[in-house]
């Protein structure tokens, strides 16, 4: 019997998911199964996607859900269509907010990854010998997205613990998740505090932090006075590192789409074809990459 596996993601336009799909396809080629890629931006699309997979005779699917609270619905729908289910990146929760442990998951907690960002910034502040009391933090926030809230809070909690004054953390809410929106929001913050000389920036992903960095450039703050650390490590970040001179974008926490895409697909295949049930929980870790070492880090993570 032919094996057919679905790979459903919440934001198909995002490079991250492009990569996940790409690596999952590698596994498909190796093992000779069919991988069906579906983008599902909201709960309703997820439901149709699962029905659709059922209708075309898939045996299982991997999903990065648009919202972890969709958990019970996804589990029920998968069962109704007799499909094996695994999650990637974001872990499903039940109505009480507890992780649904039956569903095998591979990912990294949003809070953890945020904390990695915070730690990288704290280390760099120390290295540059800045006085924390005189540094401003641009917190590019996107509160509509729970993952975003968790990441950003993870980051700020670490820097606060390291002694960063909470009063110096300024909120820059972006209206959309693109660089221009982050840039406009951050510009307001930077302009409201002309007295601050040193800035750090955190956000939900590389695009958000890049917006903040562009804002500091726009008002003429030199690159060495800015530490922005993003999350993702795809092209937007790499482009930044490739620029001839360093920018305020200090680093990015790379998470590996290779493991997330390739391994999940492989595990699902084993489950279907050889009845080998995957581990219930695999946590990967994020790794900081900077201008100096990003190529090495990427190689290490198996992405080029």
């Amino acid at each position: 019997q032919d094996v057919k596996i679905g790979f459903v993601v919440k934001q198909p336009e995002e490079p991250w998911f492009q990569d996940e799909w790409k690596f999952a396809q590698e596994a498909a080629k190796e093992k000779g199964f069919t991988l069906v890629e579906i983008g599902a931006e909201d709960g309703e699309k997820v439901q149709s996607a699962i029905d659709n997979l059922g209708a075309q005779g898939a045996q299982g699917f991997i999903i990065c859900t648009p919202d972890v609270k969709l958990g019970p619905g996804i589990v029920a729908k998968a069962a109704a269509n007799d499909l094996k289910l695994m999650t990637v990146d974001d872990r499903l929760v039940d109505n009480g907010g507890q992780p649904i442990e039956d569903v095998p998951h591979m990912g990294i907690s949003a809070t953890k990854i945020g904390e990695a960002v915070g730690q990288a910034i704290v280390d760099e502040i120390k290295k540059r010998n800045w006085n924390m009391a005189e540094v401003g933090a641009i917190k590019v926030s996107y509160d509509q997205l729970p993952t975003a809230v968790d990441r950003v809070t993870g980051a700020t909690s670490v820097i606060e613990k390291a002694g960063f004054p909470a009063a110096n953390i300024f909120n820059a809410p972006q209206a959309k998740t693109d660089t221009e929106a982050a840039l406009n929001a951050a510009t307001t913050v930077v302009n409201a505090h002309p007295e601050i000389k040193h800035w750090i920036a955190v956000g939900l992903n590389d695009e958000a932090v890049l917006g903040a960095v562009r804002a500091t450039e726009g008002v003429g703050i030199p690159a060495e006075n800015v530490i922005g650390v993003g999350i993702g490590g795809a092209e937007s970040a790499i482009n930044e590192f490739k620029k001839p001179s360093p920018t305020g974008f200090f680093g990015t926490v790379i998470i590996s789409p290779k493991r997330h895409g390739y391994e999940t697909a492989l595990n699902m295949y084993e489950w279907i074809a050889n009845d080998k049930e995957p581990e219930k929980l695999i946590l990967t870790s994020g790794q900081l990459a900077t201008r100096g070492d990003y190529e090495a880090v990427r190689k290490e993570l198996g992405i080029q």
Binding site: P12, E13, T34, V36, E37, I38, G39, D42, G43, E44, V46, Q47, S48, A49, D51, N52, G54, A55, Q56, G57, P66, D67, V68, K69, L70, G71, P72, G73, A76, A80, N81, D94, N95, G96, G97, D143, Q144, L145, P146, V149
Partner: protein
């Protein structure tokens, strides 16, 4: 022979005929398309758009515009879940959601009809305000449903067909009747044709517009409840961008944005075309970025075909 063919193709029901032909082609060429499971899945996937299109049709036919539908759907879903959870009574939750939806619609209608504010701006404003309320109510996170019987709304079946599909079908019938056979429906079309002349002919234009928006709100609430039940939670971010899909479905179905022209059968065809396009693209495993191209081209092709048809009709 060609004459008969021509008559069928160019007749009143031409769009329907084109649609049936396209359906046949898809059934024959796309594997798995014509399975019972897939068709049921397809029908369920168009429930939200289909339900909201019923009243959007009235809105457009009377030369108005409603951008707030997506927000109302999300908001009503949240209200249904949160009230059910807090009172422990699902009927109370549903009632609260229906009231909330109707209320938002009513506000839209009153502002537009009585304060004479452009419908686009008004509903753009309520779209944001209502989305904001939904986000505030839940702090931006989805709210799970405590009582599992809530799910059964969407999961239950009658004669093998899921309840939401029956509800959509029932609304199609009801609104087809309202449009074609009631004074309210005819007045709606007249207002779209010439609002001033309608007013002078004794049509209560303000009142009709308020009603249309209130109904729109109510119907969005129905869609929101079914959606929450399907996805087993109230999501403040649900149904973003719904307004454009619904308006496209209506326009595809021959509803004129200049008002005065609408038909339920056309709208159903419009809704189905959009649904089938999505379904088939996924069945054929078309890559995400190409889906944009395909979706855009189908839209263009469908209206183009229909245009050619009606122009040939005039030349006849």
């Amino acid at each position: 022979m060609t004459a008969t063919l021509k008559r069928v193709l160019l007749g009143e029901q031409g769009l329907l005929v084109i649609f049936v032909l396209a359906f046949a082609v898809v059934s024959l060429t796309v594997p798995n398309f014509l399975s019972e499971r897939n068709i049921l899945g397809l029908l369920q996937s168009v429930v939200t758009i289909g339900i909201v299109a019923c009243t959007m049709m009235f809105c457009l036919a009377s030369r108005d515009f409603d951008l707030s539908v997506g927000s109302i759907v999300a908001f009503a879903g949240m209200v249904a879940v949160m009230v059910s959870n807090s009172t422990g009574s699902i009927p109370l939750g549903l009632l609260a959601a229906l009231l909330a939806g109707t209320l938002v619609g009513l506000v839209n209608g009153v502002v537009i009809a009585k304060l004479h504010i452009n419908a686009l701006i008004t509903t753009l404003a309520t779209m944001q305000i209502v989305r904001g309320l939904a986000l505030l109510a839940s702090d931006g996170r989805a709210v799970g449903i405590n009582d599992p019987t809530f799910y059964s709304l969407a999961l239950s079946r009658f004669l093998g067909i899921p309840t939401p599909v029956w509800i959509m079908a029932a609304l199609f019938v009801v609104f087809a009747f309202v449009l074609n056979r009631t004074v309210f429906g005819r007045n709606t079309l007249a207002i779209g044709g010439n609002p001033e002349a309608s007013r002078l002919a004794g049509v209560d234009v303000d009142w009709s517009r308020i009603w249309i928006f209130a109904l729109q709100g109510l119907v969005c609430a129905v869609a929101g409840i079914l959606l929450a039940s399907r996805i087993t939670s109230g999501q403040p971010n649900a149904a973003t961008g719904l307004e454009l899909s619904v308006i496209s479905a209506c326009v595809l179905g021959g509803v004129s944005l200049a008002g005065g022209r609408a038909s339920m059968s056309g709208v159903i065809v419009g809704v189905m075309i959009l649904g089938i396009a999505e379904n088939v693209m996924n069945l054929l495993n078309i890559q995400a970025f190409y889906q944009y191209l395909v979706r855009g081209s189908i839209l263009l092709l469908a209206v183009l075909l229909d245009n050619l048809r009606t122009r040939a009709l005039v030349r006849r």
